[in-house]
Symmetry: C2
Subunit: 150 residues, 2 copies
């Protein structure tokens, strides 16, 4: 079950709260292909009505590894490790990861990871279409005067 609560919505935004990182294990979902229960994962695209990326918060229990390698067709993935430590593998390259590690993987990269620590690994994955970003940050943004409502 998805424990996210919607907190605000208008034509220009959708906001939810998924709870604290320690509560991530309360989120479960049924894997759409193999129909198995997945614990400690929440996908944000549908609940925030995003159209440019699929973001997920994920939990990997202590001393466990992802059960399979995978690749993508169109999408680049960026993994951000918030808690825990272990190893990440892309193709034949295997390297240690810990809090603050950020791994950008091209679609064809064959990837897997494991948590060798005594605590749950918590990580975020951002999936976006490779080569889709045309302009960014100050080139795409603009300041504007507006009234604060707080």
């Amino acid at each position: 079950m998805n424990k996210a609560n919607q907190i605000s919505k208008s034509k220009n935004h959708t906001a939810v709260n998924i709870g604290s990182l320690e509560q991530l294990a309360d989120h479960t979902l049924i894997h759409p292909v193999n129909k198995q229960l997945v614990v400690g994962k929440v996908f944000l695209k549908d609940i925030t009505e995003a159209t440019g990326s699929e973001i997920s918060f994920n939990t990997l229990p202590p001393k466990t590894e992802l059960s399979y390698f995978h690749f993508h067709e169109q999408n680049e993935e960026t993994y951000m490790i918030l808690k825990g430590s272990g190893d990440f593998q892309v193709d034949d390259d295997c390297f240690p990861i810990s809090e603050g590690s950020v791994i950008r993987v091209a679609p064809k990269g064959i990837r897997c990871m494991r948590n060798t620590s005594e605590k749950a690994m918590i990580y975020i994955v951002v999936q976006s279409k490779e080569d889709s970003l045309q302009q960014y940050t100050t080139n795409d943004g603009g300041k504007i005067d507006y009234e604060r409502k707080w």
Copy 2:
């Protein structure tokens, strides 16, 4: 200065470590437009060689607010609050945020936020082009047998 260290790289990935969330304030950069020093922010696109999103880790000190409202031309933004609490505003809608809040803002949304808590607010922003994601998650990914190197 950017304290990120590259930890691994191949044709299919680039991995860095930016340090723990508590060390985020060690990251500084010069704002490309107004040339002012920005403390506690690190952009990931260039250092991870990403092409589908610009991701940043950000710090907002206790009892402070962003100094201006802004909007975007092409890009959707998703804000993820990891620590701290306060308020977020999109156009005329103002709502409370805390750990676990996720806010997706359309390009035209005029946005600002403040941290009303006694600790630093830490948040991640993902910038990606609106309507750029064509397929995602299990529709875009595929399992593959591969040898673990750990």
